[in-house]
């Protein structure tokens, strides 16, 4: 079983990308379960994902990167025991910092579980991500195995974008979510290749 952790700033499109990925996984005959971490007491993203008829475990009351990390580990364990899916997809809050999450699982997760981290980047707010939001952004892309550039129809990435990402996330594979990757099967294939899923 593998865990795919999605991070990225608020409103970057994580839920939409996950919804597409779920369809791609289902079409490829793979099973998954979702853990949805939302700040705020009202569950909205989990309502969207439940439409895809996938098991969704909501985690409220804080952020799994820091405040409720124990709850995340427990939820993963419970899903492993009760459902045993091929993949557990974790959607972190948009304020979660990703650069400690792999270590969290290495330290406290069950042995043998592989973790991959994906950061969704909202290109339409790129200039804010690298300035006013840099203190969050750096710790999101900095912990990612794959960086997905989203909303590229609003703001296309430039050479400078890729250069900046190489500096901030030298370990990450960068993928542009273009029109072709709106197809769920294509998205799944691309992520599987880039993140060795």
């Amino acid at each position: 079983m593998k865990i795919i952790i999605f991070g990225g700033f608020l409103g970057s499109g994580k839920t939409t990308v996950i919804g597409r990925l779920i369809k791609g996984l289902a079409d490829a005959g793979r099973t998954c379960a979702i853990i949805e971490n939302e700040i705020g007491e009202v569950g909205i993203d989990d309502a969207l994902l439940r439409e895809a008829k996938v098991e969704v475990t909501p985690l409220f009351g804080g952020c799994v990167c820091c405040q409720i990390s124990g709850s995340l580990i427990e939820a993963v364990g419970r899903i492993q025991d009760q459902i045993a899916p091929d993949y557990i997809i974790v959607e972190m809050t948009g304020l979660a910092l990703m650069d400690g999450i792999q270590e969290l699982f290495e330290k406290y997760g069950r042995p043998g579980v592989e973790v991959r981290t994906v950061c969704v980047v909202d290109m339409s707010r790129w200039k804010y991500l690298v300035t006013a939001l840099a203190h969050i952004f750096d710790h999101q892309v900095g912990g990612a195995d794959v960086v997905l550039l989203n909303k590229v129809d609003v703001e296309a990435p430039t050479d400078r974008t890729f250069e900046t990402l190489r500096e901030k996330a030298p370990q990450a594979k960068v993928v542009v979510l273009d029109e072709a990757l709106k197809d769920p099967g294509a998205l799944w294939a691309k992520l599987a290749e880039c993140a060795a899923l």
Partner: protein
């Protein structure tokens, strides 16, 4: 011959078998992770909490009533406009450094709203939706998160309160 009596601090490795110890990141028993936080002193994180602590976070659910029944598409437009007003209170150059999300449930169906730029609300219908359904009220769930203009909390709360009955 002397009897030696001594006490010792019980711990996971003390070997006396009494066994009790405080679980923690370094206790080695592997039983569970601990809740990280500003007082946990494990050193695993430093600044995660401060980002969340300093953000403007507001969630509210409740019923929104319209003065008269509206077509579902018009009701949705009216709600989106009201929520855009709230977005303006936290936006920087009409961009939200955060997001405003809403779930709207009514006679017509369910719709999800996500706004990161005030002038480009993203509305997604969830399941079936009937534009021509007559809607006099709906259930609205609203999540507002912003790391900018956090001082606008009172005016945002007033705007949100004005939405619900």
């Amino acid at each position: 011959m002397h009897d030696h009596h001594h006490t010792h601090e019980h711990g996971p490795d003390c070997g006396c078998g009494s066994g009790a110890h405080e679980h923690g990141p370094d206790c080695g028993c592997g039983e569970h992770a601990h809740e990280h936080g500003p007082d946990c002193d494990c050193g695993c994180h430093g600044h995660g909490n401060s980002v969340i602590d300093d953000a403007l976070i507001l969630s509210r659910s409740g019923t929104v009533r319209f003065e008269k029944p509206l077509r579902a598409d018009s009701a949705l437009d009216a709600l989106v406009r009201k929520i855009q007003e709230i977005c303006e209170a936290v936006a920087v150059d009409r961009v939200i450094l955060g997001h405003v999300k809403a779930l709207i449930q009514c006679e017509a169906g369910q719709a999800a709203l996500s706004i990161t730029r005030v002038d480009a609300p993203d509305v997604t219908v969830v399941g079936a939706w009937r534009d021509d359904a007559a809607v006099s009220e709906c259930r609205l769930s609203l999540n507002i998160l912003s790391v900018a203009n956090t001082g606008a909390r009172e005016s945002v709360e007033a705007l949100v309160a004005g939405l619900f009955e």
